[in-house]
Amino acid sequence: MRRVRQVLSEPLVHFLIIGAVVFGAWSALDRSPRDSDAQVIEVGPGRIAQLYQMFSRTWQRPPTPLELNGLVEAFVKEEIFYREGARMGLDRDDTVIRRRMQQKMEFLIEPRDAELNPSDEQLRAYLAENAAAFHVPVRIAFRQVFFDPTRHGDTLKADIARLLAAIEADESGEVPKDAGDPTLLPPAMPLMRADQIAANFGTEFAEALAVAPAGRWTGPLTSTFGQHLVFVDERTEKRDPSLDEVRDPVLREWQSAKRRTIADERYGALRANYEVIVTLPDDDRTSTVDADHD
């Protein structure tokens, strides 16, 4: 029995079992209706309980006897139409039903929780292999004073230089409250990734900020909005994080990759059961446009 248990704990075996169960179910459903039972619709305690529960979970209260009767009648109606339709073969070449079947199968062969529960070693290995995706990027905290070119015209350069000189001359190094032009851009940004800075100020600005000297007012830097004097308060360098710092995202990505692998494997296992014969027509109708994607 132990060996059986061992064998049964293999994911592939699970998959085969699931497959067997499902195909068994389908072939069972597919059997030709026998006259004796085809016209009987049993609505037993299990089904009633299910209808009862579906209603309760929708309405947060149990159905009244009248409502329960309505649920049963609706189920019976659906069942009759389902049986009649299936008997006529209406499900056979229906695109929607075929796709639905594919979806249901894909849903069924989803990995089990145990297969998506990696060890620390596995996560560490995944992190090492995909280090680039998990870098802690350069982050910068800074302040900025905005100059709107349309408000300054020819004096833009001189106006910026004058403010910079005034700040440098002031012992406190404080920027006058009314310096620069009004803007919705934030006057100060906490530590932010370069791509977040780019999302707010544009790429050109983010790149210039990355190499701007820290600890003093400098500039002007050009953004997608205008000119800026900037003060870099802090800059943290790019580094590789430890697993503990990025466990959640690494786990998500590991699981995402695992899901894809398992889906491919299981489809591959199913496909291996089939001999696929493709007969192309004699006249070649394929296009020569380079539309293939990998």
Partner: protein
């Protein structure tokens, strides 16, 4: 509305910082405001800032392969992939194309149709219907006592002998036992990362009787522990209903049972055959005080723009508004089975609903159409990709291909309603001024309507109303600080008019950092005269360059730099940022009114132009190739009663 805003009172924004019930997040009173706001202001204007400093962009309406119709169209990506894509990761689309967003989104609601969502009956382990079956109970007990392997063998044996109960088709312990709803919740829980990315739990309730679109998206403020206690409301009987009033009952029952919070967002009034914003009756029942109060309670937002047409205004209703005809879908209802009649339009569009809402408030005591605005995609391929140069269509067959510009979307031979794929718009996103990127903070901002709709670009738009804004406020380094200090943000109420004063508005817009410059910022005003006549007016408030309004009062067009052959444009016209203070020149304190902002970009290539260039497809006659994308803010209302 009894609450009043006095000058200097801090806004609804700050109120939400206090531990108030979420249900009250939208209601402001000076009492609440003073509790939320420290009595002595700090010297530094930046200290203890509680108001939102950045808009969060997202999509409240995205379908995945779990939606019946999306699956039928060939959608392959489940909710997890939708979240991964929205967070900025590259995925492979259902048609095999690699795709990535230029910038990640801040939040996403996967809103799959609730009808037919569940792939599998609710059969997972321990459920009554399993236990009611003796064989099922035996297996369940075996698994529970650690004999899963033996149970598995027993199950296989049952199968091979055709003794397997029809009801128990699924292998216990597998994911297949869970319904799609629980998978949807699980995906949201997995990808929700407070502070970085918000994955909301939600679904779409798809009332569509006769092809008339009355759909609503339901969004949970709560986590999976509460959302998983219920099943989504459906339309098909006997459990469901196509009447929104029944959805509101479901929402009430959910909140009563779980103590949670939900809101509903309707969309596509343009496809409702005049049923979206009724003024006389709904579902055979005359509108009454209960209807208007209940609708106002649950439907705080409306999806004003999306792929199946823009819903802000219609040229038939607003003939003097040269920007009213934007990505208009007005040929028929959702399936084209009812052709459009002009008399339907008034009950389908945002602006006319706002106007009729003023009238209904007078008649019934509550304005049922006092909603804020958002945009979203309604894409059915798990890809919220709405930029003109990165548009992945509404459905899987509309993903980029040489054919999509010339294919047909809806073709109803009986009514003659025909809609081509090129008419699908690359629109839109929801922008939310929330304090932080969490379910609670963003949901609360939605509930208080501090939101705006964009048709794709991620521009930052501010809109504050009050009685005391002066021109110098637009010169402040921190316009938003002044806005929150002296007024209310979008979605708010002006309160009673001080004697002799007219409403003033502080408006500001910053272009999408990687997008096009701005043409103008307009304020749309609607009001009701003493005799009940409803009026509207569009004011140009601030614009780029030194253009002057012509004799007709209209501002000349901003110009056009679109290079169609190369699908390109330049920011040599327009302005990157617009800020101004505006005072209503035609204010009458006895007339109720609403005001909202509309920000227009300079012309840029429409997605069709990018397609024509990339695939070399020749557009069909009449294909729109340029677009002036835009944003609509939630209104600020004025009520003479205060």
């Amino acid at each position: 509305m009894s609450c009043k805003i006095i000058a200097g009172a801090i806004t609804v924004l700050l109120a939400s910082a206090a531990p108030l019930a979420a249900q009250d997040a939208g209601a402001l009173s000076t009492d609440k405001a003073s509790k939320a706001h420290s009595s002595r202001p700090d010297y530094s204007p930046y200290a203890d800032r509680k108001f939102p400093v950045q808009p969060f962009f997202g999509d409240t309406h995205l379908h995945t392969s779990f939606s019946m119709d999306a699956g039928a169209f060939g959608a392959r990506l489940p909710p997890r992939d939708a979240y991964r894509f929205a967070r900025g990761e590259q995925v492979t689309s259902s048609t095999g194309l690699p795709v990535k967003l230029s910038q990640p989104l801040d939040f996403l609601v996967v809103a799959d149709h609730s009808d037919n969502m569940g792939f599998f009956p609710d059969l997972f382990a321990g459920k009554p219907n399993i236990l009611a079956d003796p064989t099922g109970k035996k297996w369940y007990d075996m698994i529970k006592s650690g004999k899963g392997a033996e149970a598995a063998i027993d199950i296989i044996v049952s199968f091979s002998h055709n003794k397997f109960p029809d009801d128990l088709m699924y292998f216990p312990g597998t994911k297949a036992y869970r319904s799609a709803w629980h998978e949807t919740i699980a995906a949201a829980e997995e990808y929700n990362e407070p502070g970085r990315f918000t994955a909301f739990i939600g679904y779409e309730w798809t009332s569509n009787t006769g092809g008339n679109n009355l759909h609503r998206n339901v969004i949970f403020r709560d986590n999976g522990d509460k959302a998983s206690q219920v099943d989504p409301f459906t339309v098909y009987p006997p459990n469901g209903s196509d009447n929104p009033a029944d959805l509101w009952k479901w929402m009430q029952a959910y909140e009563d049972k779980t103590g949670g919070d939900v809101l509903a967002i309707a969309h596509n009034g343009n496809l409702s055959s005049g049923l979206m914003f009724p003024t006389v009756e709904a579902f055979g029942k005359k509108l009454d005080a209960e209807y208007v109060q209940t609708r106002d309670k649950w439907e705080r937002l409306y999806e004003a723009t999306q792929t199946k047409g823009d819903g802000e205004a219609h040229p038939f209703l607003s003939p003097n508004d040269e920007f009213a005809d934007f990505e208009t879908w007005d040929k028929g209802n959702l399936d084209g089975s009812v052709a459009k009649k002009p008399e339907m339009l008034e009950f389908e569009y945002v602006r006319s609903a706002y106007k009729n809402g003023l009238k209904l408030e007078k008649e019934l005591g509550t304005n049922p159409y006092k909603f804020g605005l958002i945009g979203s995609s309604d894409a059915h391929n798990s890809l919220s990709a709405l930029a003109e140069d990165n548009f992945f269509g509404k459905t899987v067959p509309q993903e980029p291909s040489p054919e999509r510009m010339t294919a047909t979307f809806v073709d109803n031979k009986q009514t003659g309603v025909k809609i081509m794929d090129w008419e699908v718009g690359a629109s839109g996103y929801a922008a939310v001024w929330a304090e932080e990127n969490t379910r609670e903070s963003i949901w609360d901002a939605m509930q208080r309507k501090e939101t705006y709709a964009t048709t794709g670009p991620r521009m930052a738009v501010r809109f504050f109303g009050g009685w005391d804004f002066v021109a110098a406020d637009a010169e402040e380094r921190l316009p938003a600080y002044v806005g929150y200090t002296k007024g209310v943000p979008m979605g708010g109420d002006l309160g009673a008019a001080p004697a002799g004063k007219a409403p003033t508005f502080l408006v500001a817009a910053l272009k999408d950092p990687i997008g096009a410059n701005l043409d103008r910022y307009q304020i749309v005003k609607g009001w009701m005269e003493g005799d009940g006549t409803l009026q509207e007016e569009v004011y140009d408030v601030v614009w780029s360059g030194d253009r002057q309004p012509g004799a007709d009062g209209k501002l000349p067009p901003v110009g056009d730099t679109v290079d169609m052959a190369n699908a390109n444009w330049t920011n040599t016209i327009g302005a990157p940022e617009l800020i101004a203070v505006w005072t209503d020149p035609d204010f009458d304190p006895s007339e109720p009114a609403f005001y909202y902002g509309r920000v227009i970009e300079i012309p840029t290539p429409r997605w069709t132009a990018y397609d024509a260039k990339f695939f070399g497809t020749t557009p069909l006659d009449g294909t729109r190739m340029k677009v002036q994308d835009r944003a609509y803010t939630s209104p600020i209302w004025y009520d003479p009663a205060g």
